[in-house]
């Protein structure tokens, strides 16, 4: 017993000797994301939320989404937002670049001024499928550099500003890399050694642990108020939460769950932010597989489901019901509940109607189907809720559990006639193209993507809208396309799920949080630690 007591006291003394000193991290913002490691810091391969938020701090675009508000474009590397001109049937956009924008120094390449040569190199890289995951978004685009500070982009087919600016903004393929550094590092080097022009510069990467960034003293908007950012990879929510409570972290990616949000709101010194953009949850119904090939059955499923039941899983405020595949709250082209209710396409829950429709389709006693769900809570609870709801109208769903990557792989092989999908896409065109254009049909499409419903009836409307330069007409076309989709009931929109982050009250992001495309709060030159 005495030995145990002595050991206990020794442990206590050791703990006190090595206790953490919070002052060590002054000026460095410590943020933890829900990931075990990075995938790539080459911005044109940064496709996950975790990678996107990292590159967002390091790179700029020609234009940018206003910090904290993804609905507004403003100039970034360019001095202003240009208006397009038509030249020989093609659409030309000419950007003037800011002078004095410096590329971060990197091994073997000292800091140098970014010019149009870098922008041309970068956008050509974005269009190359071997050097970019976003190449498909840059087809039919020619980029030239008339002089060192001018970039001219010519599009074979004209598009509206909303679609064009998205491709040259600080998101996905629009991030501008520094040519000399990119060539020196090569494709592999860029994955772990990013060189951009943003407020923070890469310092170090430690696999499975962290990326350290330091303030860019030559940043064109002025030196950041933070000394740097310590970006940690922490896949376990309990670990992130405990480290925030313990003062080891300043910002964490939280759990999209009202119970968690309420709990953290009660923690002293912690503030919880719930903000857009919301990732949209849709149920995609494969119209080529019996019995879903009958529209009555698809509509029966829609009437058998209750958005409020799905909403209760996550909590109002954290998630919100959505009625069209494109979320009206965040993107032009979405339809509100009122607009769809007026057309009888809001599919308000009606179990009797669902049963009648099933009987009309020849399934008075319902039917059964096998589905695969991810082990990830976000997906699993939605599938389980759907299973319980459909049982009420006689549709028996057998769920099989798979790990997340496996589920993604299997649904792309048509394993689920009813496929739940959670995704954010930057505009209505991308949503509709990837989920409802026939080219995107899984397995059999020309460019298979995420059209799980095998729908092929709005290709013309999608293409017409894409090339419509009048924004009001474009929005009308997007809405028309979605009305058709809902009338055929190949996609049942369930909800959008907001982003949940918790932070120390000492953190001031420097902007209001309304919606951020990179799905994190946005850390820039104005972000600061107040203590």
């Amino acid at each position: 017993m005495r030995t145990m007591l002595a050991l206990g006291m020794a442990l206590a003394v050791l703990c006190l000797l090595v206790a953490p000193h919070p002052a060590d991290a002054a000026g460095i913002l410590r943020i933890a994301q829900n990931t075990s490691d990075l995938r790539s810091m080459d911005p044109h391969f940064a496709t996950t939320t975790q990678d996107r938020s990292l590159v967002d701090m390091i790179f700029n675009g020609l234009v940018r989404y206003k910090p904290g508000d993804g609905s507004v474009f403003e100039p970034d590397l360019a001095t202003s937002l240009p208006t397009p001109r038509m030249e020989g049937g093609k659409q030309a956009w000419t950007f003037q670049l800011r002078k004095g924008v410096m590329c971060h120094p990197s091994p073997g390449v000292p800091s140098y001024e970014l010019t149009s040569e870098d922008v041309v190199y970068s956008l050509k890289k974005s269009a190359d499928k071997n050097r970019s995951a976003y190449a498909a978004d840059y087809g039919g685009m020619t980029v030239e550099a008339p002089d060192a500070y001018t970039v001219k982009i010519t599009l074979d087919k004209p598009v509206s500003p909303i679609l064009f600016f998205a491709n040259v903004a600080n998101y996905s393929g629009g991030f501008i890399v520094c040519k000399k550094a990119a060539e020196k590092l090569g494709p592999d080097g860029m994955k772990t050694q990013p060189v951009g022009t943003g407020p923070f510069m890469f310092k170090s990467y430690s696999a499975q642990e962290r990326v350290q960034l330091v303030a860019n003293p030559a940043y064109f908007r002025g030196r950041p108020q933070l000394d740097g950012v310590d970006y940690r990879f922490m896949p376990d929510i309990s670990s992130r939460e405990l480290a925030l409570r313990n003062g080891q972290l300043d910002v964490i990616n939280g759990a999209p769950d009202k119970a968690w949000v309420d709990k953290m709101k009660g923690v002293s010194g912690v503030k919880v932010d719930v903000f857009g953009v919301g990732e949209v949850v849709t149920l995609n119904l494969n119209m080529t597989v019996a019995p879903l090939d009958k529209v009555e059955v698809r509509k029966a499923i829609a009437y058998g489901l209750d958005r409020d039941e799905f909403l209760a899983l996550i909590g109002p405020g954290i998630a919100e019901n959505v009625y069209s595949p494109v979320p009206a709250k965040f993107l032009a082209g979405g339809l509100t509940q009122a607009e769809l209710a007026a057309k009888g396409l809001d599919y308000k829950t009606d179990l009797q109607k669902a049963k009648r429709l099933l009987a009309q389709a020849g399934y008075p006693n319902g039917f059964s189907m096998d589905l695969i769900t991810s082990e990830q809570t976000g997906y699993r609870v939605l599938y389980e809720s759907m299973q319980a709801q459909l049982a009420k109208v006689g549709i028996k769903v057998d769920l099989k559990l798979a790990d997340h990557a496996t589920m993604h792989s299997m649904i792309r092989k048509d394993a689920n006639p009813l496929a739940i999908y959670i995704a954010w896409r930057p505009n209505a065109d991308v949503y509709l193209t990837q989920f409802l254009h026939s080219d995107s049909i899984v397995v059999t499409g020309k460019k298979p993507n995420t059209n799980f419903s095998h729908y092929n009836k709005i290709d013309g409307l999608i293409e017409q809208a894409r090339n419509e330069t009048d924004q009001a007409k474009q929005v009308a076309l997007w809405k028309e396309a979605q009305i058709k989709v809902l009338d055929d009931m190949v996609v049942y929109p369930i909800q959008y799920q907001n982003q949940v982050y918790a932070r120390s009250t000492a953190v001031d992001y420097g902007h209001e949080l309304i919606s951020v495309l990179a799905l994190y709060p946005g850390i820039d030159e104005k972000t600061r630690l107040t203590k």
Partner: protein, 312 residues
Amino acid sequence: MLRYILQRLVFSIPVFLGVVTIVFLVVRVIPGDPAVAALGDYASKEAVEALRQQMGLNEPLPLQYVHFLGNLVRGDLGKSMITASPIRHEIGHALPYTLELTVLAIIIGTILGIPIGVYTAIRRNQLADYIGRVLSLTGLSVPAFYLGILLILLLAIYLQWLPAVGGGGMDDLRENVSHVILPALTLGLVMMASVARLARSAMLNVLRQDYVRTARAKGLKERVVHLRHALRSALIPIVSVTGIWAVSLIGDSVTVEVVFARPGLGKMMVGAILQRDYTALQSIMVVYTGFVVAINLLIDLIYGWVDPRIRH
């Protein structure tokens, strides 16, 4: 002895080869694609195909296997399929974190477990014995990750004595020690429970032996009888269990490293599985297999040293 060591080493080669072959095949059989994992769900099929080609995933499986074995023989662990970082460098960074964690956990487990086991055996059916048995049963029943969270709550959140998560830099001793205590205590306490139970039963067996009775009859002090005569014999099964536990600690360290966000091999392995990073996963398994083979070899050697009959 040298011949014995060589013999054990030669026997380890097929074990090693078998494990890495199974790992090579299993990671490729499970659904999921490293290119999809790397590019995310936004990328087009063309981009995924281009990356698959770059990753060498379109090569025939036997050819991939030959490349893998060839590189392994040359000591080249390759590059991560996802980040293109040299895996040797990543493992070199992660390994010290896992090693210090498991070694410290073994030390905590044994220096707490053996005295508790011995003490409760000596005090059989007394209050100390009941308490010790309940504690060790509790220790065996509580999963390591759960115990880890409880310890974080107590020592990092309420008492604020220790950092909750992270590995601490290897170049800063204070930082490093402060970060390893909690996870090592977590694993050590779980191991302690097992060692204490075994030490107790081993001691009870030995205390019934005639030679112990003889030692007492000779008038030796109880302390001498217990420590010099009984404990020495009881140590053989304890060494054996310590070895087995050292192997299972490597498994437990995976969950503990995730809970404590330590940048060790376990966390690296989980990341590699989630990202379908075949090359990283294969290399990590090679290192783990090497660990297990080495520990088993060490146990065999200790046996051989403790009981020379085994060597023959």
